[in-house]
């Protein structure tokens, strides 16, 4: 059964330096507050996995929390580059960043295999591209019935997965709806998991398009209203598109980024 915790306690308990951490949410429900709390707790040497690193990982990378990034699309959606990510890859600032790069289909299937307790997943993917040249984690596999050659990727089993959801009940059952992305797979693939939610309610009521992560499949739940800003939480708040544009300016410059970090993260009140 999931424990109901504060964000600070939950992350302090679940995430250690050096862990493989996945934070998922596909445009919608990105666990940004949890990412900033990890910066505040000065976690180091993390291997960060996420299909679309987005602002949340640009911040963690710029703050020097990450040793390695496993991803499939590293841009600021609708705006352009992730400058902290680029600075780390292009100039090794604030530290070199090892990268392992996939396609979306490959990353999604790595989580699927992880959730399914299988060591690998099979897909039609990557063939003819340069991606397999740069990782051992993309290999050919032959169909034992037809002889056809396909592609295998290994399961991704994070030490900790962090996601954000609209709500949980007091037992720790989690409900999310709208675009649900790869969150179920990312949580089920992980050894431990933390879900931040907009609100903890006495009872979950059924909702069209909602999925439920049962309490016994989640390690901890923390109530963090607004925890997905500047991304959005459907039926709670909209995406702050201007914040994504503002991030471009903040992140473009190391000094300005460091000021932002001091003011908005280290200097900010802890969310819960």
């Amino acid at each position: 059964m999931a424990d109901i915790v504060s964000l600070r306690e939950g992350l302090a308990e679940l995430v250690s330096d050096g862990d493989l951490v996945a934070m998922e949410g596909f445009t919608h429900l990105i666990p940004v507050a949890a990412g900033q709390e990890l910066i505040r707790q000065r976690r180091k040497d993390l291997t960060l996995a996420r299909m679309t690193p987005d602002i949340v990982y640009d911040q963690l990378i710029g703050a020097g929390c990450a040793r390695k990034l496993i991803f499939s699309w590293g841009g600021n959606p609708g705006v352009g580059s992730l400058h902290r990510f680029r600075d780390a890859v292009e100039h090794g600032w604030p530290a070199p960043l090892e990268i392992e790069e996939h396609s979306h289909a490959g990353m999604a299937n790595r989580y699927v295999a992880g959730a399914a307790g299988l060591p690998f997943a099979v897909l039609r993917g990557y063939v003819g591209t340069d991606l397999p040249k740069h990782t051992e984690n993309i290999k050919p596999i032959e169909c034992p019935f037809t002889g056809e050659q396909l592609t295998a990727v290994p399961a991704l089993n994070p030490d900790v997965t962090v996601v954000h959801a609209q709500r949980a009940d007091s037992h720790g059952n989690v409900q999310l709806w709208g675009i649900t992305g790869v969150q179920k797979e990312a949580v089920l693939a992980a050894k431990r998991s933390l879900v931040t939610v907009e609100e903890v309610v006495p009872e979950l009521t059924p909702r069209a398009g909602a999925i439920v992560l049962p309490s016994w499949a989640v390690t901890a739940v923390a109530e963090v209203p607004g925890g997905a800003r500047p991304s959005y939480a459907q039926d709670y708040y909209e995406r702050a598109n201007t914040s994504y544009q503002e991030w471009d300016a903040i992140s473009r410059d190391r000094e300005r980024f460091q000021e932002w970090l001091a003011d908005q993260v280290y200097g900010a009140e802890v969310k819960s």
Partner: protein, 251 residues
Amino acid sequence: MSSYTAEEMMSIAAARALTEGSSCFVGIGLPSTAANVARRMHAPGLVLIYESGCLGAKPDLLPLSIGDGMLAETADSVVSVPEVFNYWLQPGRIDVGFLGAAQLDRFGNINTTVVGGDYTDPKVRLPGAGGAPEIAASCKEVFLVVRQSTRAFVAELDFITSVGHGSGAGDRHRLGLPGAGPTLVITDLGILRPDPRTAELTLTQLHPGVTLDEARAATGWELAVAEELGRTEAPSDRELTVLRELTAASQ
């Protein structure tokens, strides 16, 4: 007829290429604009699929990301991200995949990963693959939308992120890629299609006011040109009105 920008010509040319009742895997930006213009013009039954899992989205405005709430709210069905790739894209159910590119070569192969230097120490780090490799592999056909310049239309890619026609005709079949690959490249100067014999991208059409020399100068290899080079019809008033209203409403 109104004046219009090269960007508008691209969007409208792309919209025209989408046929009623077909399904289309759309990324954000120009592909999404084109698909939503097509829905308002000649293809009201166009099925828009976004990689966030929205099948049959019918947005009123142009979404700013592939995961806008509006897409989920108007979709026939919202599925998980693994499902959209595994059950919908991979088996070849989707007619058209719409892709952009930072670099493109004469066979329609695409780079969206790194430019310059080498992979581990690149000059410019781009966002990477996203859904593109499998969209390029599995959609029945692929439309590319790229501004034509010697920076983008290069003789040799710095990285192959997604496969077009590989090293030429027959290569997709050898690689086991199910779809037909890029059948149409729409630029700000004109339209290219693969030569049926060689699969090399061949200029088949110039947009109004563009010269063949301009197109050649904007291409980093010796551009193949069709024997009968067509001329794109200029955007109609109605096309421009629809496009501009949609864009304005989405600001």
